[in-house]
């Protein structure tokens, strides 16, 4: 089976989820592009979009239509050539409409797993639950195509473990997109010890075609991305405890750490906002998977457990808007900070009034995340900023320095433990998967 043959019959499990919908989009666009190649005219491309929720599948269809339209408008130059043989398609608008139709025709939304039993490729992006994943894979192994390849989007579960439990004999690889898949440039590729070479080759080819940067990870729970993120968030939560012990209130501590981890660390959002974005439940799942599999390190947060037990979840509403978590949101922007006791949110404005003074004055050389990304020589500006931060000796400088140092330590440990091959891979992953302005392994702190 060559590359296009492999992609003739594809399934995406968890297709209507956050990750699944993006994976369906990228894969369907790639399949539509293949179908337009004259060499593939005899082939029929089908993508079974499987999810347990029929309502969510409806949402998937409108998301796909909207996104396929945008993609078509962007590549109209190439599409005119691809549809040159179609005399009936004359205007750009004719061609764009046809392409969207062709993409939609490829996608077959379904709630039946059995529809995927002819598929030769299965992307899996169902919930992060090892037992669920093993059950799905076992069923596919038992009833599906004898040579089916599984590309799991798991954030944390070791691939060789899934392989062993579902008896896939190496026909599985960790093909880990970042959220949202259509936007984030990164794919973290994790092969189990048994993963077959053909899957690795295909992954490289597919990632290239859909224009993703690949960073390889060892087959360790959490891989590189969550290996860093989970330890980073545990540090933030521990810092909140430390500041509370020093006499600040909990909401003040969360406000300050969130602000410093965004503005002083020059990141796209603060750490507590990121936890909310990913979802406390997802973080809990990933932590548990890692904690169960990585000895000698406590990867667990009692606070996250407590908040989830009280119904604080974060994550997104079905329409994509942000649900409240550590922070409260108005139009996607943090507007309040949660008190875990009363579950009330203290307005950010009133916290700013007291906390910004405590944090101390910001150096004039502070560079915004946007400016850092846009600048060609941002490392100089960032180095200059941190030199000034050190001089100020403010509370913010102290939190930032501890934070930056810890992030660097986490990065180095990932390399030392063999999770990442080298410093560059860690940095590249955080740059492309988390949109950081600089890699965690640096000499700024």
């Amino acid at each position: 089976m060559n590359y296009p043959e492999r992609l003739e019959n594809v399934a995406v499990l968890g297709a209507a989820g956050k990750m699944g919908s993006g994976i369906v989009l990228l894969t369907a666009l790639e399949m539509a592009d293949l179908s337009l190649d004259p060499a593939n005219r005899d082939k029929e491309f089908t993508l079974h979009a499987v999810d347990v929720s029929p309502t969510a599948l409806k949402g998937l269809v409108s998301y796909l239509r909207e996104q396929a339209l945008k993609a078509a408008e962007k590549k109209a130059v190439a599409l005119r050539k691809a549809y040159a043989h179609r005399e009936d398609l004359v205007l750009n608008s004719d061609i764009i409409r046809q392409y969207v139709q062709d993409v939609m025709d490829i996608v077959h939304p379904t709630t039946h797993l059995s529809d995927t039993f002819g598929s030769t490729i299965v992307f899996e992006a169902a919930s992060e639950n090892p037992a669920l994943k093993v059950k799905l894979f076992s069923e596919i192994r038992a009833h599906g195509h004898p040579d089916v390849w599984i590309f799991t989007n798991t954030s944390s579960i070791p691939i060789s473990e899934l392989d062993r439990k579902a008896e896939l004999s190496g026909r599985i690889i960790g093909f880990h997109f970042y959220n949202p898949p259509a936007v984030q440039k990164l794919v973290e590729l994790a092969s189990g010890g048994t993963t077959r070479q053909e899957l690795k080759d295909f992954s490289a080819a597919f990632a290239k075609r859909i224009r993703k940067v690949v960073v390889p990870s060892s087959d360790t729970a959490g891989f590189i991305g969550n290996g860093h993120f989970m330890r980073d968030l545990l540090h933030a939560i521990a810092e909140a405890g430390r500041l509370t012990a020093e006499g600040h209130s909990f909401v003040e501590a969360v406000y300050m750490i969130n602000k410093v981890s965004q503005e002083y660390l020059v990141r796209p959002m603060g750490i507590f906002q990121l936890i909310d974005y990913v979802g406390l439940d997802v973080c809990q799942c990933i932590l548990k998977v890692m904690d169960d599999r990585i000895p000698g390190e406590l990867l667990h947060s009692a606070l996250i457990d407590e908040l989830l037990a009280k119904g604080v979840r974060g994550g997104q509403f079905p329409d994509g808007s942000q649900r409240d978590g550590f922070l409260q949101y108005v139009k996607g922007r943090p507007s309040g900070v949660l008190d875990p006791e009363s579950l009330a949110y203290t307005p950010v404005d009133s916290l700013a009034a007291t906390c910004d003074v405590k944090l101390g004055a910001t150096p004039a050389s502070m560079i915004s995340w946007k400016a850092a990304l846009a600048s060609a020589n941002s490392d100089q500006s960032i180095a200059a900023f941190y030199a000034d931060v050190r001089k100020t000796g403010t509370l913010a400088a102290d939190i930032a320095t501890r934070y930056g140092k810890r992030s660097c330590e986490i990065g180095r440990k990932l390399v030392a433990d063999g999770v990442a091959a080298n410093d560059e891979d860690v940095n590249r992953l955080l740059l492309t998967g988390f949109f950081h302005a600089y890699g965690p392994i640096n000499s700024y702190f």
Partner: protein
């Protein structure tokens, strides 16, 4: 045949800004003026300078594709919406692709010559930001031969037409020197536009314009031989001017000093279904300009300034040659030597031209006339250039499609 049996003047020009990307007040997702508002603003600007609508005998408006950009035909009947004083007066709309504005001027000139009007309000308009550029390209491709050219044309139809011309020109006369001229043309356009508050590029702050303009073209996302800086942008706007006889001037209370006189004009048409014989030349433009200069009884050595149709840097370059200021193949040197810049021997497009001021297609011909009126009567404020007494003429060239409809008009100050 006497093309000027009577004296014809233009005065009291008024234009909206050229609205589109680059203007600070433009936001693609926010509501903005439509055809009606633009037409009213430009039209009322003229009426305020000519003693009101009662002094107007008739109206004419140039527009290319409002029927598709805005689902609005019948633009002649929007003219009375400018002012009640225009009700029950003859009005009509004319169309000749991007030369629609120029054709509106000619309709006004002819009517004054025919003595059927002493004062004609001539307008031009286009509102193009109503659709995304990729669909706008479909609409604008109507200036080409739809049945014969569209299917095999490019997604970006007109940029590609002029990119192909550029490809031929590169081959014959050298790519680097030609692209250097494009970059210089772009720089001149933006620098001029920065002096003129109504220009689309008025707010442009790019430091190194030529370096920006020299970015390599990307055939995957755009066309083979041009980049986006070689192209005029998508623009909304309307422009208006009064076209009057001598009697008309006294009726509206404008002195000859404050008007320009039309001393020569020509309008030629090429066959839409026939490709240009030599893609490195604008033959229709060449013929039309030659005829207009002949009517005016002047040579190109008499020109003080030119408004040419630089919908692309490439058409700017070819216009310089077609007008006759540089020989075939020598336009790049002429431009790179700064001859067309505001300090050069014949400054072109002194408030930015189509690349810098903007190109609301149906309005462009009228806007060019306004610019020359301002320039020749000393009303050009920050963008005024010197008009030498011994060569006091201004030339306007307005081109529709791929050099198919061309209007050329020669002006000098009225008194």
């Amino acid at each position: 045949m006497n093309p000027l049996r009577r004296k014809v003047y233009m005065a009291a020009g008024s234009t909206t800004v050229s609205l589109g990307t680059g203007r600070k007040e433009f936001h693609p997702k926010k509501p903005r003026p439509g055809l009606e508002e633009h037409i009213r603003e430009a039209g009322q600007g003229v009426l305020a300078q000519i003693g009101g609508a009662a002094n107007v005998d008739e109206g004419v408006i140039g527009n290319f594709m409002a029927a598709r950009f805005n689902h609005q035909g019948h633009l002649g009947a929007l003219i009375p919406s400018i002012d009640d004083g225009l009700l029950w007066k003859p009005c009509h709309r004319v169309e000749g692709a991007c030369a629609s504005g120029g054709l509106a001027l000619l309709a006004g000139i002819r009517s004054v010559l025919a003595e059927t009007s002493e004062v004609t309000l001539a307008l031009g308009t286009e509102v193009q930001n109503s659709v995304k550029a990729i669909y706008g390209a479909d609409i604008l491709s109507g200036a080409g031969w739809f049945r014969g050219e569209r299917k095999h044309g490019h997604a970006h139809f007109f940029p590609s037409v002029f990119s192909d011309r550029a490809g031929h020109y590169f081959e014959q006369f050298g790519r680097d020197r030609t692209r250097n001229a494009f970059a210089r043309w772009y720089r001149n356009a933006i620098e001029n536009a920065r002096l003129c508050p109504t220009a689309q590029e008025f707010h442009n702050t790019t430091a190194d314009l030529e370096a920006l303009a020299l970015r390599e073209p990307n055939p995957h996302t755009f066309v083979d031989h041009l980049n986006v800086f070689d192209c005029s942008k998508v623009s909304d706007g309307a422009s208006a001017i009064a076209i009057v006889s001598e009697d008309g001037l006294s009726r509206i209370g404008v002195s000859k000093q404050d008007a320009v006189e039309v001393v020569g004009w020509a309008q030629l048409e090429a066959d839409l279904t026939r490709p240009p014989e030599d893609p490195t030349r604008l033959e229709t433009t060449r013929r039309t300009v030659a005829r207009a200069l002949e009517v005016a009884g002047i040579g190109i050595g008499d020109l003080a300034t030119v408004e040419c149709h630089d919908c692309f840097t490439m058409s700017g370059l070819l216009s310089v040659e077609a007008i006759g200021l540089a020989a075939h193949g020598e336009g790049p040197d002429y431009i790179c030597a700064g001859e067309t810049a505001r300090g050069g021997s014949v400054p072109f497009n002194t408030c930015g031209g189509l690349v810098g001021w903007g190109h609301p297609t149906g309005a462009t011909g009228v806007r060019q006339a306004i610019s020359l009126w301002q320039q020749l009567t000393g009303k050009a404020e920050n963008w005024q250039v010197e008009i030498p007494a011994n060569r006091p003429y201004g030339l306007q060239v307005n081109m529709g499609g791929n050099d198919k409809t061309v209007v050329a008009i020669v002006y000098k100050r009225g008194g």
